[in-house]
Symmetry: C2
Subunit: 575 residues, 2 copies
């Protein structure tokens, strides 16, 4: 029987609970968001005793459904003040799914100082003192835990940024090789974990694909079919496995939607220097990997392992990170980008938020655009907890407020990722309206806007963007519940067999009789749950807007503004 | 005929406009709030081109109605994101009233860098370059302008904090003696002025009590009666004139409602060392003044002039400032308090917000409670614009977010003043619900809670607080429209002749036939206007709440929590 593991950090009580009927059919984001709505007072202090951190594998995690090992982490965000689900690769989700752990709930808040580790194995779970890990970077924590236990453990941990309760601190877990950089980065959930006094969760279990499956024959057939659907698609089967997510750098630049110099321009003449092709070349030269699976069982393998000149390894450099530390800061040195990425991974900070924040600080003149050394020096302040480090850890909106900057690329307090909303307007609708704060993954309209996957909607025009974003947000919420990687969407959008095959896998695993319509309904339901939480937390349609400058400043090269009307934005969730 | 002076900082156009019928009967806060609702897009960037700064004298300003020279400044607040009216003494309001200037509206935003001065006299108005004043403190700016023009001019100015666009920067104007420290401090309107490139407004006009009055005989009778009402009241006629606002220090301490150590305790054993009696003694010893009129024509004279050991003069040290730099930081040295006050006055920062922010930083361990030198050193960073200075200028909520502090005494992003809401619960209701963000002046329930003026409502119980705050918020909004000092309320609440006499003065001046009921209706209308703006800006009842720790932590000595229910708070504006 699947269980919920509940850990009370006030009393230090650790217990396994039966899964209430209400949660039985939920997983991943579907489960975290529902539990957060049910159990967290929406107006509570995000770093206080009433917030909860919910960690849940997806419905298909722990099976050998391809690319099904994504982990969902939920709670009230200290960055946005709203509900948050942040999604990561790594080896934890498959292990939790295999162990029948439906969710880990971290609640309460210790009155005393001190760091704790939650140790979880098939024998049970216990909280142990972990003051020896306090203040350590995520690389060290992971290494120490792998040495102390064994090299198969999954280590979910926070860095000093999370311990220092910085609103853009993430939490991470490791890949198969032990690289501690599969981040649930966005929205500050690392600070929530830090506020609970929990430094790490160690999952000591060798299982990976051992989740119970009711009809294993049917499951195998469906999983095989789904693998073929993925591999047959040009993006999932060819583009992503060749150059990883950073293959987007030149594509988005060519489209004129690459945010350059804190969203001042849409193209960067040195984009190729930090793009996926170049990354693959350098990584291979140095004995790294141009393609890599972020979690066991992934067939798209869109990640990478980048050896740095100092001998350390940054794994991976994703497109959004390469963008935020590259073109966003007018930096074109991939080694500088890798170094900034590595610092974030180690100190435990969301790279996108850190990059947006450095962009705001460059706008304020604290560092210069194009000055990689200054950016590195600034980011190194985070670990020291200096006032500048605190501002960086506070995120782009805090930096903007402190420095009086009006060009702050953030929605609901969360920084806008690597696609300018003026020339990728479908993403603009998603940034504005998703309950998560600006988030490209919540409704990735780059598909139809730029990649011409799932149809084509002109990225520079307003027509059709609301519908596009709506459909993608619904589909994404459902995908995020399954534990499947969002990137399966490329294939699913282009192949009518995609969704039915996902449904076949779920039905075979759980003995259910869901239809594709039920999946749409699930996605809609998740969004409703999230919006209900946010409404109770005080969010209104005034929060579903882009920053003013996107509506007043023209973006080159297409001379676009974000011109989708407020009334249209308010129609995104009209279901 | 009265005029509105409109200054467009984009085009540099300066023009006098007739007053639309809609605004004819409005003044002070009534006018600023209505104009902000009418002309400022509620979701606009507070420091952007669409926000406007509206400066308006009260309806009675420029007459010799006693204590009628308060100035209202309005706009969208960069601190709270909502509507703001901030209210100051000084000599500007009487001059503007005498000149028939109904309001000055500063709008637009220059595309180029540079500082400007608006020069206003009876001959007209012009914008002149003022780069020589850029970066200067408010004391210097005022001195330079008084030397350049004459020593009768009113100088409305911002300090470096406003120029640096800090969200807790205020704007100030001078008293009769030229002290530049009559602040419209709260809510960051100094940053709004800074965002427009406007460093100073110089009003060169010798008139003080020359506003046109239709029935001057009736006015004289009413004004004389109102003066007597004030002088006959023990608070207005005796308490305030003897020791000023800081007479409250020992009273609030005795009541157990003095917030000590960032709202951790309700009493401070050294309160008397920074109280009004002590202040009066030291000020007189050093040749200062224990009593002083903040604006011409005030009969309560509750302000002071405090000579500091270094030969400089801090004028005044108000109670809330003495509290926030004193007991709030566990500092008991009046000279340290004066120094902190002086730094804020000069750099252009709201003292209450600065004190609350230092309290948060002490909670974070950045400075130590009780360490006056450390507090001074920290506050000196503001002028330098260092990261720490930026955090301080960002206000208590920004500091709390950067340092991961959950005990942040702020509502709607604005710091809570000098009365703990757990043992002055009527003020707690006001802090939570006023559209202004935490503001003691918006509904000063200290009256009935502690001073037993206008009845008595037990400050430690929840009964009757909502009704008390509601009535006071309505009355205050009306008073703030007249230009009368809020402190007339002490007398007005205890004397049934109070409100009718105010109405008599207004009717005599404007030839109207208002009744006391109309005054109540005006107060209600102002609050509705302000709440409409805030609702459109995205505020909901979730914003009408106190910080969580006031509901969970017990305050000594009365062992109180803030226990007024959310549903009751939502009934404050049920008219």
């Amino acid at each position: 029987m699947p269980k919920i593991l509940r850990v009370n950090m006030t009393t230090k009580e650790v217990k396994f609970e039966d899964v209430p009927e209400k949660y039985a059919a939920l997983g991943g984001r579907g489960l975290t968001s529902q539990m957060v709505l049910d159990d967290v007072p929406p107006t509570c202090e995000p770093l206080g005793e009433f917030n909860k951190l919910v960690i849940a594998p997806g419905l298909l995690s722990g099976t050998n459904a391809p690319s099904s090992g994504r982990l969902s982490v939920g709670g009230k965000s200290p960055l946005t003040g709203g509900i948050k689900e942040s999604n990561a690769g790594g080896i934890s989700s498959q292990k939790l799914g295999s162990m029948g752990i439906k969710a880990i709930v971290i609640e309460g808040k210790p009155s005393e100082k001190g760091s704790y580790m939650l140790k979880l194995s098939e024998e049970g779970a216990e909280l142990v003192a972990a003051d020896d890990l306090a203040g350590k970077g995520t690389y060290d924590v992971t290494k120490i835990c792998r040495e102390r236990f064994n090299d198969k453990v999954a280590v979910i941990t926070i860095g000093p940024a999370g311990e220092m309760l910085m609103p853009s601190a993430g939490l991470t877990n490791n890949d198969t090789e032990g690289n501690s950089s599969r981040y649930a980065g966005r929205g500050g959930l690392g600070a929530v974990m830090g506020s609970k006094g929990l430094k790490a969760i160690v999952i000591d279990c060798n299982k990976t694909f051992d989740a119970p499956v009711q009809d294993s024959d049917a499951f195998k057939v469906a999983a095989k079919k789904f693998t073929k659907i993925l591999l047959d698609h040009p993006v999932c089967g060819q583009g992503l496995p060749a150059y990883g997510t950073n293959v987007l750098m030149n594509i988005i630049n060519e489209a004129g939607a690459l945010p350059v110099r804190n969203f001042s321009k849409g193209r960067f003449d040195k984009a190729n220097d930090v793009g996926g092709e170049k990354l693959a070349e350098v990584a291979k030269e140095r004995g790294g990997k141009a393609t890599h699976a972020c979690h066991p069982g992934c067939v798209m393998r869109c990640s990478n392992v980048y050896p740095m000149p100092d001998g350390k390894v940054c794994a991976p450099i994703e497109y959004e990170t390469a963008w935020c530390f590259g073109p966003n800061l007018e930096i074109s040195d991939l080694d500088v980008v890798a170094k900034l990425n590595y610092i974030c991974n180690d100190v435990g900070l969301d790279t996108i938020e850190a990059g947006c924040t450095l962009g705001v600080l460059a706008e304020a003149g604290v560092i210069a655009f194009g000055d990689g050394e200054a950016a590195i020096k600034a980011l190194e302040e985070v670990e020291k907890g200096t006032p500048l480090g605190r501002i960086i850890g506070g995120g782009s909106a805090v930096a903007g407020k402190a420095f009086g900057i009006t060009r702050v690329p953030a929605v609901k307090g969360q920084g806008i990722p690597a696609y300018d909303p003026r020339s990728c307007k479908g993403n603009g609708v998603t940034y504005a309206t998703t309950p998560m704060g600006a988030d490209h993954t919540a409704g990735y309209a780059v598909t139809a806007n730029i990649l011409k996957v799932g149809g084509h909607v002109d990225p520079n025009k307003s027509d059709g963007q609301v519908e596009l974003s709506r459909n993608l947000q619904v589909a994404t919420a459902a995908v995020d519940a399954t534990g499947l990687c969002l990137f399966v969407a490329f294939a699913v959008l282009d192949n009518p067999e995609g969704v039915p095959t996902i449904v076949e896998m779920i039905n075979a695993q759980y003995g259910t009789e869901l239809t594709p319509d039920d999946v749409i309904a699930l996605g809609q339901q998740i969004l409703k749950v999230e919006r209900e939480f946010n409404a109770k937390a005080g969010f209104t349609k005034a929060d579903d807007r882009l920053p003013e400058f996107f509506t007043t400043e023209v973006l080159e090269p297409h001379k676009t503004k974000f011109d989708i009307k407020d009334e249209e934005l308010d129609e995104v969730f009209n279901f």
